[in-house]
Symmetry: D2
């Protein structure tokens, strides 16, 4: 048996969504209207397939050169680090269908041995746990990034594009795009789309420009809203990037993309596609995605310093054949 | 039912150990002889309890100041990164009693949906998986680091000294102490103790000296030996630091200690104590331990550059109440 | 990231449901119309709270007396057994949000040891795995069966009404109510309600009558339909008992109730209640529920013998504090 | 890091074992002395390979005919059931290297939804959890029961001899052989071998004789001793059947064998073989094994009734490809 609340919310949202979209900018929405065909076209137009060779499995991480890494290290002016990970949530909630299962197999109570021990199990995909999506996480017309067939992903794990390809870690310039701060609100309402103009407005306000190889983090204020109003079903109602941002991200040659939810605005506004940004990033661009980052402390730290760039370090657990990994990305100023 | 081989090996080792120790330096051993009482005395003598306040839960990580972090960032001369993590081992072996349990819950085969997914479970302590021990992992006379009672660790998790205290990550100078290279061998034989003289000889050879706040990695060549000879029961026979090194580590004010096994030489040579280095580091010094790092690629990268220092970044999954975390430490040159 | 298909189906169903209900018997539905208030009234009217004492945690299982067990054993005329469990499904599907995670930790390939081993993890509730719900699985106005407060169920487990109360197993007369066979169809369409008249018609056709202490299994043909048409989202669209059947089940003094889905018709037809049968059975009657049984082989075995009663044996894993258990119920003729 | 106590105990036992065996019946031991060659010979001599066809995967369960099942049902004189399963142990101990990992993913505290939920993970083999070994659990010279090669057991699961072969459950006469009661002690000391004479003496005392198709349970009193003295490392020191009993079990044509530990006496007394009874039963005879049953309540119930036979019902979770299953066997008198 499953919880009823989730299903009811889904129904509610299903009915409410059209109205919600109208209310959050009907005209802009009309201009921005994209269809599944438009996205299909972008899958080719923006494609990085073959750009780093036919056998390449790294994708846009290739844009992080040694020079880029040195520049990123030079961003450490102060030696202050802040985590972009959420604490591990262990209880089911509207936005946590699969809590961390953490078991103390040896505690300190009535224990004459010298050690405490624990174990944990996690199904890290979804809309709660901070994690990095591997390029094998998503398919389109039977293919993954660089044209690898989805059949490479079997019960044994992903033979191509698995997360252990990022075993050497991510070390690059990180940039926070703080959209609520741009708009002068605490957080965006669920369903609010973010457009390329917003990103450019933020660049202007922050006084920087994205450059090739950056790791970009889009703050929607999701966790601030959750702290205030409680959890909601992010899988059907989330602020995030509109599909039209994909082109912009390609123009800037972003290496990695992250968000405090799942990057995509949901509903996407593109009929028949739940997560066009996911699809375009993971499959066409070869851009790995950080989902469900906690960007609240980073937002505060950045604002205090008026610096929106930093050294970003992140290293997935090299889970052989894995479709991603929970991890703890760190911003160092 | 359990595997027989492990038990037989244990028996073998139990019988063989005295002989092994004699053969690997009988006289030196005699001089170095330490008793449980000696270690008990060191628990007080080397103690950092109270050094950073009565409520401190960070321990020697306090030695990593912002200045130290800046200096560490400045070690990035080249922008080359190398992982210190092992790939996740999924099959039982002599040194892997608790393999990663990795399950593809959605593969690409016969899948008309757009996503692949997986989940994993890990009991990361032990002698196989790369992980970081939290300060709550070990008890001594009912206490943990800074005097916290072991009863703080309950079935709900550790209320004190849990791994999420290191949520902001480790960012400091890392130093590799490559003992096999010092001794001109491919790897140390299991049971070989490493003494303070060895560490000093390495400092001399490497042309550097440990300084306060460093993260030190001791290579024994364990994985090179495993690749050549197959796995063996590390829990009863491992090269590593002799108990007398604790004093030396305190003198250098090391912030973190790591190894390609579990830091301790096993058998420890101290009657009645399995892991005196673990005990002294985690409890007296407040030094978190990286266990089972893969130091082979690092050894190669360092030797090629003739540089044994680097920026070390490592960030545990902030498992609330956890006694440690699997993770992927990264050295950047 | 999560699969899109599920969400779309939910939306579809949310829109389609009113129409579906109309088409599957508009008039009957109108007569049968029950409100949340009607169900609330039944929660008291049908209540077994206090019937077996204030401290009772067994509920309707008390109806299985030693005499009943002997009679049940006497139903074994032939010595033929058939399982009511599904094979463990390991891949995500519309009706399997949480597949069995089964890991071979030691296989026979390249294994010089003598043993193979495995481990598994299961979140057994939901709409796929055959399991038994404990009485602590559901709350109503802060209470569970017999008035125990829901706060008895903590992170440590259920202090009351946990599954280990059924540790001695279920051993009683089982009766199959084969509704598709009654109606001359292979399976009921999702959303089809089953009414008390249907149950009585089946009693007549089968030539038996339920008696106190029986374990009753309601076949909807769910697995036959799944084999033919593929999985669908049972959590929003399932054939099953209409809420009005609760009174009938109480009149017959049924000890346990099972089904090939989750017993309830979904949508329930009672506004504001997802699973009124679950609520009335688990909380008011103290009737444990077998969910997701495979009743196809039983249906065949029973029809072949023209016998719809049998010895039912079922024993949960006595998971201390558990809210239920996966298990393998057996019918013996 | 792992607990030290276990390793020390192993060492202790390794040294102590020869003495222990001498003290517990030196002469008898000498007469009974078996070598690995003797056991190898028995592997052929007692073999049931081919007895039920070349493709047979059921093994000795074939001995449970429909007639046998009817006779077993007729043993239910009273309608009293008792579980042979241990409650699930969740904390590490000397005899519990792999505790049940049970997680409440939704409790009743601060929960406005209507449901509580949990999940669990278990590595059920070993010396703590009540479980049934499948015939694929053990190899000998590259083969399993009936000559199937061990390579049939891959990372995907066992293609032959997996536990789901017993999906229809076990339903037969059960017999308790209460060796401590025979010897007038509360429990046997660890390491005590049980010989065929003991089994025959018990038959005489109990006034019954094993017949083809029986499920036989050997009580050593392990749990009584554990309750009194605390856990010890069963994997190296356990009372149980001496290898010479295999011939006797074949002569009686037993269908299943169970025990409150792992059936075998440990140390086995056969040099070079840890678990000869396991090997002979699972591989040569095709007899599935119930490990770690709780036989204390059964012993009491049987003694009270002076009846040592009963209906035994047990049904594994049909884990596709599994090497066994946790389960809850039930004795009904």
């Amino acid at each position: 048996m499953k919880i009823t609340a989730s299903v009811f919310l889904v129904m509610l949202v299903a009915f409410a969504a059209p109205w919600a979209m109208v209310s959050s900018g009907a005209e802009q929405e009309a201009q921005r209207k994209m269809t599944k065909e438009d996205v299909d076209r972008l899958m080719t137009e923006l494609s990085n397939w073959g750009r780093w060779g036919k056998e390449d499995q790294l994708g846009a991480v290739n844009l992080i050169t040694e020079a880029k890494r040195k520049q990123a290290a030079a961003l450490v002016k102060e030696g202050f680090s802040v985590s972009l990970a959420r604490d591990t949530e262990k209880e089911r909630a509207e936005d946590n269908q699969s809590p961390y299962e953490h078991t103390m197999t040896m505690s300190g109570v009535n224990n004459r041995a010298q050690f405490s021990m624990d174990a944990f199990r996690v199904s890290y995909h979804g809309y709660q746990h901070t994690h990095l999506d591997a390029l094998c996480h998503m398919f389109w017309n039977g293919k993954m990034y660089n044209g690898f067939p989805q059949e490479e992903v079997t019960k044994k794990g992903a033979a191509k594009l698995a997360i252990q390809n990022l075993k050497q870690g991510v070390f690059t310039r990180g940039v926070l795009m703080d959209v609520p701060r741009l708009k002068g609100v605490k957080y965006l309402e669920p369903g609010t789309p973010i457009y390329p103009e917003d990103l450019e407005a933020w660049e202007k306000k922050a006084g920087l420009k994205l450059t090739a190889g950056d790791a970009v983090f889009i703050r929607t204020g999701r966790w601030a809203r959750r702290a205030e109003k409680g959890p909601w079903n992010i899988s059907v109602n989330s602020a995030g990037l509109h599909a039209s941002c994909a082109k912009w991200l390609k123009a800037r040659d972003v290496a990695l993309l992250g968000s405090d939810a799942a990057s995509d605005v949901i509903p996407s506004g593109v009929e028949g596609l739940m997560l066009p940004i996911h699809q375009l990033a993971l499959i066409a661009l070869g851009v790995n995605l950080f989902d469900n980052c906690d960007l609240e402390p980073l937002s505060e730290a950045a604002a205090k310093r008026k610096r929106w760039e930093f050294l970003l370090t992140a290293a997935p657990i090299p889970l052989t054949g894995g479709t991603g990994s929970p991890l703890n990305p760190i911003a160092t100023f």
